[in-house]
């Protein structure tokens, strides 16, 4: 019941409705805007250091040698006619695929071994096994070069000590390729090991127990439990490593500089030789862009597979 003493405001003095998002404070309250502001520095960095160079490289690859006029796809056609470039494509594929497979297998094996080490001591071994990845690549490659270089090779010294002839590690094409793959594998397998170790720890123990109850052998557990559970992480790490290995520069540059006789050149080093050393920057840009379709197609199929498996799992 309305009380005669209760207050009531005259209609003319009704409190105006509060405006939502008014002023700077209101703007900053919107999550979308705050999110955009916070990611702006990263987007600017990616734009300036990744997107712009990529677009500029595409533009450069369509120019003539002296960068004065457009020549369309002439640079790409020129490369496809070069025997040396065919070798570069073959060597890049060989290097990337072989090194990634070795890294994955060794990383997977080490991850399993580490998984079975008691957690107290695991930290020490993990730290030691991560060392190759932690040391700057140029520095460690220089160390490997000293091991291979004939005038100071410790490896050859050992071989001679045990009665074997010294090897021409970096002068023979196939041995030089082996050395490149060896160094890349040594450097990259800690990444695989640590990723697979983390993935192994996330596989539920109950699955292994259930498999054991069903009488599964170690090999069957690996094939029917571990591998399916780790399939996505295996795909992702191999894709990531493939991209990085394809674009590798340091190892080849320091170990062999593309020799002997261009038999260890890969895209990045050949692009440098053609673009910077030989002064044909558009052609160098064209060389480096050849990697793009290969890696884009690989990424598409791998990520599509991961996406499909994730949807099936749900």
């Amino acid at each position: 019941m309305a009380d005669s003493t209760s207050l009531s405001l005259p209609a003319t003095q009704a409190i105006p409705a509060r405006r939502s998002g008014g002023g700077l404070k209101g703007v900053l309250r919107r999550r979308a805007i705050v999110g955009a502001l916070m990611t702006a520095p990263l987007i600017a960095l990616l734009g300036g250091l990744v997107a712009y160079p990529a677009v500029y490289a595409i533009y450069l690859s369509l120019l003539s040698r002296n960068m004065t006029h457009f020549v369309g796809f002439h640079n790409f056609i020129l490369l496809l006619r070069r025997d040396t470039f065919h070798m570069v494509v073959f060597q890049s594929a060989l290097f990337a695929v072989t090194a990634v497979i070795f890294k994955a297998v060794i990383g997977f094996t080490l991850a399993h071994l580490m998984h079975n080490v008691p957690s107290r001591r695991q930290r020490v071994f993990r730290g030691l096994l991560l060392l190759p990845w932690v040391i700057p690549l140029a520095l460690s490659t220089l160390g490997w070069w000293w091991l291979f270089e004939p005038t100071s090779s410790a490896l050859n010294w050992l071989l001679v000590r045990i009665g074997l002839p010294p090897q021409d590690w970096l002068g023979d094409p196939w041995t030089a390729r082996f050395c490149m793959i060896l160094v890349n594998t040594w450097w990259g397998e800690p990444f695989f090991m640590i990723m697979y170790l983390a993935a192994l720890k996330s596989v539920p123990e109950q699955l292994f127990e259930a498999a054991a109850i069903d009488g599964a052998s170690a090999w069957q557990k690996l094939r029917y439990v571990t591998l399916p559970m780790m399939r996505n992480i295996i795909s992702l790490t191999m894709l990531f490593s493939l991209i990085v290995t394809f674009a590798n520069f340091d190892i080849v540059r320091i170990l062999t500089n593309g020799g002997p006789v261009n038999t260890t050149h890969i895209f990045a080093t050949y692009a440098f030789q053609v673009g910077i050393q030989s002064g044909d920057i558009p052609l160098g840009a064209a060389v480096s862009l050849f990697m793009l379709p290969v890696l884009a197609i690989s990424s598409f199929f791998v990520l599509r597979g991961i996406s499909r498996r994730s949807q099936e799992a749900m």
Binding site: R81, R82, P150, P260, V261, N262, Q277, S278
Partner: protein
Amino acid sequence: MSTSRKMSRRRALGLAAAASTLPLVHMRTAGAAGKLSVGFWDHWVPQGNDVMRKQVQAWAAQNKVDVSLDFITSSGNKLLVTIAAEAQARAGHDLLTFFPTWEVQNHSRELESLDDVIASLESKYGKLDDFFRALAIADGHWRAVPAAWGSQYKGPCGRLDLFKQHCGIDLQAMYPAKPVHTALSDAWTYEGLFLKAAEASKKIGKPFGIGLGTTADSVDTAGSIFASFGAQFVDAKGNITLKSDNTRRALEFFKKFVPLLPPDVYSFDDATDNRMLIADQTTMIYNPPSAWAVALRDAPKVAEQCWTFPTPAGPAGRFMPMNVFQFGVWSFSRNKSAAKDLIVYLMQREQVQQRLNVTLGFDIPPFDSMLDFDVWEKAGPPPGTLYNYPVRPIHQMKRWITGMPAPPAIAVQIYNQALPCNLVAKVTQAGQSIEQAIAWAESELESYSG
């Protein structure tokens, strides 16, 4: 009446304020002629940089220019990367002193004309050889000045004791430290004494340290050997002229010569031969005197047996591989007049001689009138070791750069993609026939022509 004037507080403050502005006056006039940024090659001989720095600072003080100097290493192609980056960005140093070999032609559109500098220097020291003109003149103008800083010959440096004892050759009799032409030097040919000496060196386990790798030393040597046989890759008009009897004869020579070299010859870099010399693992290398200079410090007994002398002759003559550095001023430089003035100063005879005395005669001045410096006679031990380092008329030798006489756009690719070394390797390592190897090289050359 008192004549002394007491120092009031106000007067003292005023004097102090005036005194404190003196440094500002000095700073203002120090860079009165502007700023200049210069990039120098980081010299192999450590003391070289110090003397260059002092010379530039003396010039800067005299001319009131605020100079900043950078000494940039040639390791890892840092010089090429610097040139390429500055050309693309149109920013960086005003003056670079290390445009190597073909880079002036590569970047001629971005380089300032230096006709006036050359005219000034030639009027004083004589005309420059056509060899330098081919490297530095583009569109009818001098785009660079050949520098007496880093320009070097890469000829033989042999061991006196090993040559005498095992190869039967007295290097000091063949090329004595005096201006005489000897009959023995006429017998110093690739297919003659050179091959015999290589065989003898291989037998004693100290083979010639000559590489067929991808780096400059290997390319320079291989290119000069091809030139001495008259084998030309591309002529001055851009026609591919590789398929010839001269090329076949040169490759036949390499088929006999390469088995006498170390087995890792295809993986040589620019320092492998230096290391072999210092480690007493070789009878002879092709190198400027930097290897001997380091041996002076690290292996004196090896150094005192080193003798630098001309290359052997082939059927087409005697060719000395040369690496030329050139002073270039960017067209985007903001102080071109100071840059040109500095070039003229650094190329004066007094400055060149002062630097050469410190760098043990490593750098070769482009003017023949400067070949009378006594640094090459006095350098040692052994005495006279560098007398025959600069190309002298008695040597009957031509300067050579691999890729010549091809148009620069093709020559730079022949050089940087190590085509001569790869051609030899196709025959000696990959087992191809001479005709197959020549066909492969021709297809490479066609792609260089675009």
